[in-house]
Subunit: 72 residues, 2 copies
């Protein structure tokens, strides 16, 4: 699995765990909703600053968004 | 500490642990040496694809490069 897809899956997972919509996450992270959607679909190639914004809005450590778990 | 500085410190730390130069890391990651230097200095804002290339060349999981340790 490529790293963009890993980040996308993690963002979606933590967003759903938090029970918020893409709109809400986008607002909290100061990003556009379509951008968040693109990240979740593994289409976007976000920079570490964006990963930091998303992690902050999700309440997780940035490294969690790059974590690849074989079993998940 | 901002996330670019965190990534830079981690890249330098793992590179030095591996005992390779910035040139060697740049070559292995298919990046320019000045770019690797900029990442290590926390000046560059690399994308997750670049973080993946650097992690691969360093032999560590990509999430390790975003890890922030208060004590280190």
């Amino acid at each position: 699995m490529n790293i963009k897809a890993v980040v996308g899956r993690n963002v979606r997972r933590y967003r759903e765990l938090k029970g918020i919509s893409q709109e809400e996450l986008a607002f909290d992270a100061d990003l556009h909703r379509t951008y968040v959607s693109g990240v979740e679909r593994g289409v976007r190639n976000p920079t570490v600053l964006i990963v930091g914004k998303l992690a902050n809005a999700l309440g997780v450590a940035p490294c969690k968004l790059l974590e690849y778990k074989e079993t998940s």
